[in-house]
Symmetry: C2
Subunit: 224 residues, 2 copies
Amino acid sequence: MPDRSETPKVSQPAVRRFSLYYRTLLEAQGAGAVSISSRELAERTGVTGVQVRKDLSLIGSLGKRGLGYPIPALMRELGRILGLDRRWPVVLVGVGSLGTALLNNVRFRRKGFPIVAAFDIDAVKIGVPVGGTPIYHLDLLPHVVRQQEAWIGIITCSADAAQLVCDRMVEAGLQAILTYAPVTLEVPPGVSVRQVDTLVELETLSFVLRPGRELSEDVDRPVG
Amino acid sequence: MPDRSETPKVSQPAVRRFSLYYRTLLEAQGAGAVSISSRELAERTGVTGVQVRKDLSLIGSLGKRGLGYPIPALMRELGRILGLDRRWPVVLVGVGSLGTALLNNVRFRRKGFPIVAAFDIDAVKIGVPVGGTPIYHLDLLPHVVRQQEAWIGIITCSADAAQLVCDRMVEAGLQAILTYAPVTLEVPPGVSVRQVDTLVELETLSFVLRPGRELSEDVDRPVG
DNA sequence: GGCTGTGAAGACCTTCACAGCC
DNA sequence: GGCTGTGAAGGTCTTCACAGCC
């Protein structure tokens, strides 16, 4: 079966690097640059130059030998592959301190991932906007998801409630979930989950620090 | 050269899974279990059974065929490998909303990673403890790091300040840094960096959601 | 029957070496 | 000289198949 898709096969690690490249290109463009070399892209993202070229060769021969890559064309392609050529409304459940921190971050809105609504079950929190985002009762989730055409949900509630919240998100039609709760979520096929867990990160660090390692060496810099 | 170390070579992905196994063992132990099968460990962490057995075989033949793995022995070994057999004091720089959220999380203290001090340069924040943690001026970092014997630092300041804060952490002697700032940090060899970036996670999700993918499929569930 | 342990195979990802273009 | 592009090699991680034990 021929691959009709315009998007080449790109691995999970490559997606993360693409995201870093895109950010760097945005900065370089803001600084007035019109093209950029794989070496500079590499230095500013913490990967090797060959890796950058290999990654970018996947999306076609955009680079000019001796010159580097044209920033506008590269951004257009990367943006298309990452799905950044549109706006992705996001909903958030769990308006605790972490949820509040995310709601106060204007970066997501600026980058095309506006948190359009947040949900909780605490009557005290409902109705009082945080960072300009309205807070609704969790029961309104399906309605708002449909109305706003949201596909992505963020879970910032307690570990105890996370699976229940996840189930309701799936029920409401969300197909991608980013969770900060320290539990493994079960989802039906077709739904993507990403988990951010600070404790796991700290334990990864204590692993490299623990006595017994022969020599300190750089740990790679995955984007977490 | 013979490997005198008691710790087998364990890959980065394996470390993350070990962390998940450890958490699950803790839960199972709390529920009164004394042994656990690879299948159950697998289901509760979202990895495959073979993967669990392969991982655990690295640390010696602790399992009993037909019975599963003895929880206490397994936890002891995993804990030793992850470096959880001691307490790791942590310092944090940047008492904004994200920093505050982390300071209010009691989980880190309970799990052996107490945030013993936080730092900022905003006079309004200095001196007012958050979540029981004292807030000092950034200039005191080296002193507190030495006094508390901290090795791990968390960066929750703005992107602009992150590299400077990172440099001061390294100067103060920290060897492991967990950063939430969306910039690639440069550190000397011997210092480990982990980065958590919500926007990169969201872009990873928009990648799987973008139109053009032939069929929805599960994205693996890496832990942050 | 249920379960662990492990060499071999496979899939995946990165690095190397070098060809090719400006 | 500077830089990109890419097949081949190398390395790492996961899955398979099945042996072995309770």
